[in-house]
């Protein structure tokens, strides 16, 4: 308490003495200003409008009003204005008077330093800007003095030193203040201040010296009038030479750089800080992966709910039964007769049947070439026009002749026909219903949807002769299984991991489960006990499918066009017949028919882990982001590291000698690392192109080439440069490539979470690859790194994919899904070739971008790592110590 009052007293006392020591002219000016302000407040506009009288108003300037060029700095608009200006002006004016003398100050400030800026202002405002903004106030003097002061300061200390480097010239400080003032003080005249500042600069540079009266005359006046004696606080001409306060402190300023607080610097230079990033990276990965395993828990996942109330799922009676089954049987006979025939023959037979229902039909041809194969066929589709509708909206019912496992959709096609016949009887449809019969499950729907949205290549895919309105939803029936079924498998993965609106899946789960009593399974989890393990595996399967981004059924092609779609596939042996599936479709169509708006309410980004449990993007995204962030952290760490002296011993010695000394930075050789990374990145177009355009037979050959290429490339790059590569350059190569990887992956995480996470996790070794020529990397660590790198490289993962996916995909499925076993076998026998072919087909037909991610994001990062690991150990000589630059 006591000390506070003491300090208060002290500072008050200081202020008092300071005021007491103010020189004469400054005092007079202050008194005049305050007096005028008091007058202005006492007689507000009644008797003599002071402000009106004295302000500098460009338009009224003339010979008679010249007095305004002198009066305007003395008048203020308000007390606050005055106080601000006083605070700013007093020290500057005092300093000026102290160094120039009272008489000079009087002469200058009554004369040119007031009128000069005033005239410039008037000219600018009146003739150039053609405006008329009156100004008052002493701030123009303040800026003038500030400018001249800054120039003086600049002569002594040219730059503000930040972090050991001269960065900001000191004379710019007033400009910053100028802008801050313009921004912060409303009603302040930027132009006036700027002119004041400009004149101040000119004065400070000495070009206006001629304005001040010569010393001789001043001395004569002083002598004659004996001013020094008569006037208190007078600063004489002679005093100013030395300064009234002895030596002016300005000239004594030592050229000292402005240094950041020592503790921060010490922390920055702490070598422990550089050792931290790998651990942070590791932590990111561990948390990211662990996060994923927490998601299936009840606390982290949510129950699904219907967000769009208009859907009203399961609220209608379904009537698809009875004699419609007789019709179904007849259609099934018709379809059975067609099994084994070619596409056109099938369509020739089905088209009259559909036409007989009173629907409009049309056909569409398509031909796709991918991996040396041709996918050609003819789509047949029919439009059931909404009885009272107007071709503005439509729902699609898809029945592919063959499903993704190449089984004939024996029950699905007749069921779709029967349903359409049944739907035709209703008059309640508000949207057209389109029946789409495609020869296969991938290319056919893709061609049709592309053409529907005019996004097709007319050379390969024919345009649609018949169209309806906006597609609001699509349901595909995949019912190849013979006999009755137990439950329904809802397939929802779209191309590139895009998903349909969760409301659609929820509605079907609700209708099938709640209304019809048919269980629903997801992601080939035929028996789901809603435990942690089953939830986790459902989620992981979903992520794997999402990551591959391939089409998983006829519905997949619809999703990129913002048409929500699912495939319904019955499975198991139970007591549900095809009419039950028909009723599920009927119920779903009735729900979609209710929709007034496009499905938009619910989630588009989610992970389902059970039919009634999901996590939304906000919950799962941090996982992939953390994994992606680990690369960025490492890249930054490597960048910082590359900027520090290379040799450890040298650094140690330096640290012992002069810890608090100026920081050292090493100049980075950016050209070679940037060139290498750019080269590798541009080379990545090569595999992308070749794998997507090569013939089927050449795929394996190319694969071998691109598996071996990185090692050669590494060897080549390590031997090619004429000057040996330094460890710093290796660090920089890694830094850049990891930076790119982190950037790409975090962007990708928002588009395709699973793919970003998969690539991120598989690319983890790239973070921890030891620098081959760093002194502490021995042979074992290098060998280990090489092995790790080659196990987790894109090509090896592709090999593993063919095997592992086939093995687990086949092993984990029971007899009900026996087809998967054959599929798995196919994958296994096909091996890499199969995977590459699938990818090429996905690329050409569906526009899958996973190959881009693998070849243009992951592969170059891996090649860069390979280059670093296989780097040649440099033979270091004394002369090749990296150039160091110390700051002045």
């Amino acid at each position: 308490m006591n000390s506070v009052t003491n300090s208060l007293k002290l500072s008050l006392g200081r202020t008092a003495t300071h005021i007491d020591r103010l020189p004469l002219f400054t005092r007079v000016v202050l008194v005049v200003m305050v007096t005028l302000e008091v007058l202005r407040v006492l007689f507000p506009r009644s008797w003599w409008d002071l402000e009106e009288w004295g302000r500098l108003e460009p338009d009224v300037m003339g010979i008679a009003t010249m007095y305004r060029t002198n009066t305007y700095p003395l008048i203020h608009t308000s007390a606050i204005h005055l106080i601000l200006n006083l605070i700013g002006l007093t020290p500057l004016l005092e300093r000026f008077e102290a160094s120039h003398g009272t008489l000079t100050s009087l002469a200058l400030f009554v004369g040119p330093l007031s009128t000069g800026p005033a005239l410039i202002y008037v000219v600018l405002e009146r003739f150039i800007l053609r405006m008329n903004t009156p100004i008052v106030g002493a701030s123009i003097w303040g800026f003038l003095l500030f400018g001249s002061e800054a120039i003086r300061h600049h002569k002594v200390t040219p730059y503000v030193v930040i972090a050991g480097k001269p960065t900001i010239p000191t004379w710019t400080a007033p400009i910053a203040v100028l802008f801050v003032a313009a921004l912060l003080l409303p009603g302040s005249s930027f132009l006036g201040h700027a002119i004041g500042l400009g004149v101040g600069y000119v004065y400070g540079l000495g070009y206006l010296k001629f304005l001040s009266p010569p010393d001789k005359i001043l001395r004569w006046i002083e002598g004659k009038l004996n001013l020094r004696v008569r006037l208190p606080h007078f600063v004489s001409v002679d005093q100013k030479t030395y300064g009234r306060f002895g030596v002016l402190p300005l000239t004594n300023l030592a050229p000292q750089p402005v240094v950041a607080p020592a503790t921060v610097m010490q922390l920055r230079r702490d070598p422990r800080l550089l050792k931290l990033p790998p651990y942070i990276s590791l932590l990111c990965i561990v948390i990211g992966v662990a996060w994923l395993f927490l998601l299936p828990l009840d606390q982290y996942s949510r129950r699904t709910y219907i967000s769009e109330n208009a859907l009203l799922p399961g609220q209608v009676h379904t009537y698809f039964s009875g004699s419609d089954q007789n019709v179904f049987r007849a259609y099934k006979h018709e379809v059975n007769e067609l099994v084994g025939k070619d596409n056109t023959a099938i369509n020739d037979k089905l088209e009259p049947i559909i036409k007989g229902l009173g629907l409009k039909t049309a056909r569409q041809n398509f031909t796709y070439h991918a991996a040396g194969q041709t996918f050609a066929g003819e789509n047949l589709y029919a439009i059931l026009q909404a009885p009272r509708g107007d071709a503005t909206e439509a729902i699609v019912l898809v029945a592919a002749w063959e499903n993704v496992r190449h089984e004939v959709n024996r029950n699905g096609v007749p069921l779709a026909l029967t349903l359409l016949r049944y739907f035709k009887r209703w008059s309640l449809w508000s949207k057209d219903i389109i029946l789409l019969l495609t020869p296969d499950s991938i290319a056919g729907p893709q061609a049709w949807v592309d053409a529907y949205h005019d996004a097709h290549d007319p050379a390969r895919v024919a345009s649609l002769p018949l169209k309806s309105g906006l597609l609001q939803g699509a349901i595909a029936i995949d019912y190849a299984q013979e006999g009755r079924f137990e439950s329904l498998h809802v397939v929802y993965d779209g191309v590139n991991g895009q998903l349909p609106n969760l409301d659609l899946i929820n509605s079907i789960v609700n209708i099938a489960g709640g209304q019809m009593g048919i269980g629903v399974a997801l992601q080939e989890m035929w028996h789901h006990n809603n435990g942690y393990q089953d939830r986790l595996s459902t989620m992981l399967r979903g992520m794997l499918k999402q990551g591959f981004g391939l089409a998983s059924g006829p519905h997949s092609s619809f999703i990129p066009y913002h048409v929500d779609a699912v495939t319904l596939r019955p499975f198991g042996e139970g007591w549900q017949d095809e009419m039950a599936l028909g009723r599920v479709v009927e119920g779903s169509f009735r729900s979609l028919n209710n929709l007034l708006e496009h499905l938009h309410q619910s989630f588009f980004f989610y992970l389902l882990m059970q039919r009634e449990r999901f996590v939304s993007i906000g919950t799962y995204l941090p996982s992939a982001m953390l994994v992606a962030a680990n690369f960025t952290i490492m890249a930054i760490a490597l960048w910082v590291k590359s900027g520090q002296p290379a040799s450890k011993t040298e650094k140690k010695a330096e640290k012992e000698v002069s810890t608090p000394s100026a920081p050292t930075t090493v100049e980075r050789d950016l050209f070679l690392p940037l060139g290498v990374v750019a080269l590798i990145q541009s080379l990545s177009v090569l595999p992308l192109y070749l794998f997507n355009h090569a013939l089927e037979t050449a795929l394996t050959l190319f694969f071998i080439v691109f598996t071996l290429l990185p090692s050669f490339l590494a060897h080549f790059l390590n031997n090619f440069p004429s000057t040996p590569t330094t460890p710093q350059q290796y660090d920089l190569i890694r830094s850049f490539s990891l930076l790119l990887l982190g950037m790409f992956l975090s962007t990708l995480a928002t588009l395709n979470f699973s793919l970003a996470l998969l690539v991120g996790v598989l690319a983890v070794p790239l973070t921890f690859v030891p620098n081959s020529i760093s002194p502490n990397s021995g042979l074992p660590s290098r060998v280990l790194a090489t092995i790790l790198l080659n196990v987790f490289n894109p090509t090896a993962v592709l090999v593993g994919l063919g095997l592992v996916y086939g093995w687990f995909g086949g092993g984990g499925v029971d007899a009900a899904a026996g087809a998967d076993v054959s599929n798995g076998v196919k994958w296994m026998t096909g091996g890499v070739w199969g995977v590459l072919r699938e990818a090429a087909v996905g690329w050409h037909v569906c526009g899958t971008y996973s190959p881009v991610v693998v070849w243009c994001v992951w592969w170059p990062a891996w090649v860069a790592a390979q280059v670093v690991v296989l780097g040649k150990k440099e033979v270091k000589t004394g002369s090749e110590v990296p150039r160091e630059k110390k700051d002045a």
Binding site: N326, R329, A330, R388, A391, G469
Partner: protein, 605 residues
């Protein structure tokens, strides 16, 4: 006696009507229902009601058959000719052929209104138009008042007055359309009220909202136009038309049980020729030309005739071959028309008319061409759809097909687009679909240029008026022309989105007016272009970028809560006076007691 008189009257009338061709003055009101079976078990029912009033009577305010409510609106808004359409569904030209009335009595989906107003300036016309739309909105229970400046256009080429107008100079044509308006029973009731018999007698008794709005296509039209016969007095004619296409299967369902439950399997018509045909397997035979009766289809019979109607005009006509037998109730007189394709029925005023079209004989059924009169091929097929996807740009593509093997079709294509579809006129092109998909561009390019003959384009102003595009073009015989143009979607302001914004925005149907080739030679001045046939495309649904509307509400709710909490607490603290408990005035019972005590003391003292 009465019957005798009426017969006499009838014969007299018929004498008059047959001796002199129907002149406007003496047949003041007549009504007629035309029934035409269409392929795929559909039935077109066209109701037509027409009445006249002389212009002098109209001016005086003497309305006999002319509905007073409507007439007053017309007088007030200075309307010389008016056309109002309420439509639903689409006409399936491929199956059903040419449109009834050559398309002159139908509109695009929703509500369409065009009128010639007496006005010297545009402002006056706009003012009268506003009066007219608001008044009609009240009269017909439709949102016609939403036809504002953005939905109003002034067609230049497409519409021509149907009536005889002496002074055309001070008439202005305004056209407005509401594509999103759902036509329903509430529009039918006022429509029927305009009729002299109000739907209580005559063919109007068949008009029932349930049946009308369950039809596959329906159009209600009101046309008012002045007609000046040569030498006669000018009359104002109001014609009310209802056209509907009924699905016979659907209409025959009883009203109390409209759910299309699967029929019992024995009632399911099966194709017995199929080898697998059995008691539980049935290949269905649909759309056999089923028998129907009026009461099955409309739910009721015709209740006599409207006594005010001209009895010379037969109230019901049926268009089937004369070879088919038709059963009618007694007191209904059938009269076969000489063309061999239609017959009409005269009804006596008090009888209920029932009509039954039985299933054709088996021999005939084999050749379905005789059971139904072959549909007339329309002059042009038109189909319009959006191209492209995404929320930034789009395109419109209209496929125009001329089925005629030798006649060229010349027509005017009119679009009135909302302002938020900013079309790129330079992208508009018309090209003939080549027969071979791979013809070189140079050979076909020469023919493109001549397809579009004239373009009238009035660009949109944001939030003030829509785009108006009229294209006069032609389609060569037996060819298909693609008319395409691109557009950009604007982003609306937050408050400009209607409820259910994610549905999209309806774009009105394009109007195609085919010019009559016979009059084309004479109209060198381009003044009178008689329309031979009119058709409209379907309307479109344009999805604009839509914000997540819940977000602003979240923000509003969040900030409101924060401010309420902060402000409430702050205000409470500022305003409240804190006093120590013993310093404050005492409250409650104690004060009362103290007061009482004081009072008692006062009394005592």
């Amino acid at each position: 006696m009465r019957r005798f008189l009426s017969l006499l009257w009838l014969s007299l009338l018929s004498f008059f009507t047959f001796s002199a061709p129907v002149s406007a003055t003496d047949s003041d009101y007549h009504e007629q229902l035309n029934l035409r079976p269409l392929p795929l078990s559909s039935l077109l029912a066209s109701f037509n009601f027409r009445s006249n009033t002389t212009l002098s009577e109209f001016e005086k305010g003497n309305f006999r058959f002319f509905p007073r409510s409507l007439a007053q609106i017309l007088q007030h808004a200075g309307t010389r000719e008016l056309h109002l359409r309420f439509s639903l569904g689409r006409w399936d030209a491929e199956t059903w052929g040419a449109r009834p009335w050559n398309g002159a009595r139908e509109g695009g989906t929703g509500v369409e209104l065009w009128a010639w107003l007496e006005a010297d300036t545009n402002e006056e016309a706009d003012h009268k138009w506003l009066t007219l739309t608001n008044a009609l909105s009240g009269l017909f229970c439709a949102s016609l008042n939403f036809i504002d400046g953005t939905r109003t256009t002034r067609p230049v080429m497409s519409f021509q007055p149907e009536g005889d107008h002496s002074a055309v100079d001070n008439m202005q044509l305004l056209y407005g359309v509401l594509p999103h308006e759902v036509v329903c029973t509430e529009n039918l009731t006022p429509f029927l009220k305009l009729l002299p018999c109000k739907g209580k007698a005559g063919i109007a008794t068949l008009l029932d909202g349930h049946k009308l709005f369950d039809s596959s296509w329906q159009s209600m039209a009101i046309d008012i136009r002045p007609i000046c016969p040569a030498g006669g007095e000018c009359v104002l004619q109001i014609e009310q038309t209802i056209d509907m296409v009924l699905d016979i299967d659907r209409s025959k369902r009883p009203r109390g049980n409209p759910i299309p439950r699967p029929p019992p399997s024995e009632q399911l018509p099966c194709d017995a020729s199929k080898p697998y045909n059995s008691h539980d397997t049935c290949f269905p035979v649909d759309h056999t030309n089923q028998e129907w009766t009026l009461s099955q289809i409309f739910g009721k019979t015709v209740k006599g005739t409207c006594p005010l109607a001209d009895e010379a005009v037969p109230p019901v006509c049926l268009q089937v071959h004369h070879s088919r037998s038709v059963f009618v109730s007694k007191d209904v007189h059938e009269k076969k028309n000489p063309d061999g394709l239609s017959r009409c029925f005269h009804i006596s005023p008090e009888t209920d008319m029932e009509l039954m079209l039985p299933r054709p004989d088996d021999a005939e059924a084999a050749s379905s061409s005789t059971s139904i009169i072959a549909a007339e091929t329309p002059l042009l097929y038109a189909e319009r759809s959006f191209t492209g996807h995404g929320q930034e740009r789009g395109g419109v593509q209209t496929i125009l097909r001329n089925p005629s093997p030798d006649t060229e079709v010349e027509f005017i294509y009119m679009e009135s687009l909302p302002w938020f579809m900013r079309i790129y006129l330079h992208t508009m092109e018309a090209r003939i679909a080549s027969q071979q998909p791979h013809t070189n561009a140079s050979s076909s390019a020469s023919s493109y240029s001549s397809l579009i003959e004239q373009v009238y384009y009035r660009p949109a102003l944001d939030r003030a008026r829509g785009t108006q595009l009229e294209v006069r073009m032609r389609v060569p015989p037996a060819s298909t022309v693609f008319l395409t143009y691109d557009f950009e979607k604007s982003i609306l302001r937050y408050t400009e989105y209607p409820p259910d914004a994610n549905r999209g925005f309806d774009v009105a149907a394009a109007v195609i007016t085919i010019l009559d080739p016979t009059t084309q030679g004479q109209e060198a001045g381009g003044k009178e272009l008689a329309a031979a046939y009119t058709l409209r495309t379907t309307s479109l649904l344009c999805s604009l970028p839509t914000p997540d509307f819940s977000m602003p509400y979240n923000v509003i709710i969040f900030t409101s809560t924060a401010i309420a909490l902060a402000f409430g607490g702050m205000f409470n603290i500022l305003v409240r006076r804190f006093v120590a408990a013993d310093e404050g005035p005492e409250a409650g019972l104690k004060v009362l007691i103290a007061k009482l005590k004081a009072r008692v003391k006062g009394v005592k003292g």
